[in-house]
């Protein structure tokens, strides 16, 4: 039976070739398309996470939805102590965020001024690496300010210049101080670089009256996939009004934006699949209806119609498996290749900087599970496409089929 199926495929070359190529191209296209989609999403996410957000944040209940001084972590030392003993955590650092008006001689700009612990911050985010001019903060710093390059541009200031900060302390009292710019950074996240400045937390606490407080503690983990587990662990050991959020929640709108992007991608692929489905079906139909007499002969000779069905399905299966396998191999290779050597679109980061894109690189994501389900979809498509033609042929009795013209 298998050899007869194979011989039929070799005999009816037109249908075989068309179906094979279509199915192959669909598989390659689908695998590569999804790999690019997932890859660009993943790199965007990873970039944002590693630049500043971190995999997990620990904060007072309600702070994420409504960040204000009313929802600060108040017992920082004990929370920090707890984190020390949890497995899977790579590093953690507290931050105290405060919105303040920064004024230079030229201009005033509202900015997020954040008190950080310079050493542990360097382990958690890419702030230190993002340095472009001057130096990063250290634990001895007093009124040194580490500022986003775009923010400095907006204020018309440069390294060494003085800046006045006007804001409110954690008890809502008036807080004002003069700072000196000791370093400028550029992460590539345009909005971030245009609205952020950092101060040594030890010094900032004195001004903001926030010695044992923090807006959040940022935690990085050894394995991003296990962030949920680690977060659960942390939550179990925290006091009741403390919340532990993973990147999925922290980056909710970005994650959702990517879902939307994927949705559009799948809609487009869906259209493509509809067309491919029809073409495969039509060619299958043409093939089978052209063979009605031959199949009728088989049945007259005593081959049961169930066996004929098996034969036809076997033909499709051979075609489908061969083409999807080949397509998957090619697609997987491309997905792997472009993961290692990402495509570079010059100027993309500049054009889309407002959308948080910081790199010209578009990597793919090589993921066996994704590739497997992509391949399954095309396989399924192949089988669905043969259903109608097979159903059609079953309507004929052997004598009718033999007489069919």
């Amino acid at each position: 039976m298998f050899s007869l199926a194979l011989k039929n495929l070799l005999f009816y070359k037109g249908r075989t070739l068309t179906t094979f190529l279509l199915s192959l191209c669909s598989t390659v296209l689908f695998v590569v398309y999804v790999a690019f989609m997932d890859g660009s999403h993943e790199s965007m996410l990873k970039n944002s996470l590693s630049i500043y957000t971190g995999a997990i944040q620990v904060m007072q209940e309600g702070h994420h939805e409504n960040p204000s001084y009313d929802t600060l972590l108040e017992d920082l030392p004990s929370v920090m102590q707890t984190l020390k003993n949890i497995e899977g955590i790579r590093a953690y650092t507290p931050r105290l965020e405060s919105f303040a008006l920064l004024s230079s001689e030229e201009d005033s700009v509202g900015a997020m001024v954040t008190g950080i612990v310079p050493e542990s911050e360097a382990l958690v985010s890419r702030l230190k690496e993002a340095l472009v001019k001057g130096r990063y903060l250290d634990s001895e710093d007093s009124n040194g300010l580490y500022m986003g390059e775009e923010l400095a541009k907006r204020l018309g200031v440069d390294l060494g210049d003085e800046i006045a900060l006007v804001g409110s302390a954690t008890d809502y009292s008036f807080a004002a101080e003069r700072f000196q710019i000791i370093g400028l950074f550029r992460t590539g996240l345009f909005e971030f670089d245009a609205s952020s400045a950092f101060v040594n937390k030890a010094y900032f606490d004195a001004l903001m009256l926030s010695e044992t407080m923090a807006s959040s503690i940022v935690v990085t983990v050894d394995d991003l996939e296990k962030a949920e587990t680690v977060a659960g662990e942390i939550a179990g050991q925290m006091p009741s009004r403390v919340e532990v959020l993973t990147w999925k929640k922290l980056m909710a709108s970005m994650v959702q934006a990517m879902e939307v992007d994927s949705l559009f991608g799948y809609i487009s692929m869906g259209l493509f699949f509809i067309v491919v489905f029809f073409v495969i079906m039509i060619f299958g139909f043409i093939n089978i209806s052209g063979r009605i007499r031959e199949l009728g002969l088989l049945r007259a000779l005593g081959v049961h119609s169930y066996e004929i069905l098996k034969l036809l399905l076997l033909e499709s299966a051979i075609l489908a498996f061969a083409s999807v396998l080949a397509g998957t191999l090619i697609g997987a290779y491309l997905a792997y290749f472009y993961e290692v050597n990402p495509i570079i679109i010059k100027g993309m980061a500049e054009t889309y900087k407002a959308y948080g894109i910081i790199s010209d690189e578009v990597p793919t994501r090589f993921d066996l599970f994704t590739i497997a389900w992509n391949a399954m979809v095309v396989l399924l498509l192949n089988f669905l496409a043969i259903l109608y033609p097979v159903y059609y042929i079953r309507q004929f009795t052997p004598t009718e089929a033999m007489r069919h013209v």
């Binding site: 007869l4 011989k7 039929n8 070799l10 005999f11 007499r293 031959e294 002969l297 088989l298 049945r299 007259a300 000779l301 005593g302 081959v303 049961h304 119609s305 169930y306 009795t397 052997p398 004598t399 033999m402």
Partner: protein, 223 residues
Amino acid sequence: MVRLEHVHKYFNRDTQREVHALDDISLVIEDGEFTVITGTSGCGKTTLLNAIGALDSVDSGRITIGETEITQLDERERAALRLQDIGFVFQAYNLIPVLNVAENIGFIMRLQGYHHEAIEKRIREVAAILEIDHRLSAMPNELSGGQQQRVAVARAVAAKPGLVLADEPTANLDSKNSQRLMQMMKNLNEIEKTTILFASHDDYVVEMSRRQIILSDGHVEKM
């Protein structure tokens, strides 16, 4: 032995175009016969042959082949019966286009599950009788019409069925090829004792047969 008792078949039953294709047919065909069912075009030859071959159902009456009453069988059992007990030769389009001559001849035996070597041996045997042993690796579309029909006969007899049914086997052949085919089939009938039943109005087929059953408007006119 094939036995038909009061077999009736209608086409387009209960419509204005109703045709009484088989009208109360009762006959017996003994093992080893070389018999033709003949009559004018549309007299019901092919319908009768299809009914005997379990290709088509009848509306009433009984048909038995050996001990099996085929009018009682369902589609699956009829297919099994055709495969095991009956060989077919049709007017045209007999061969599976993707298989070569040898594979076509051995097709039924392969389906029946014969051993590879037994099939090879039998292919050579019947191919020799039908004088197609020099074309065993050719594809059907490379053969002449006469050769194609001989391959079809070879396939029909290869598995040594109790009954071979041939529906107008010579219709697409010239007289020389018709004679050759009939002579070979007669040889087969004599050598292998195969029961062969034709449906044909070809004079030559009728002449060569040992017994003629003449049909007219669906009923037996002469046995």
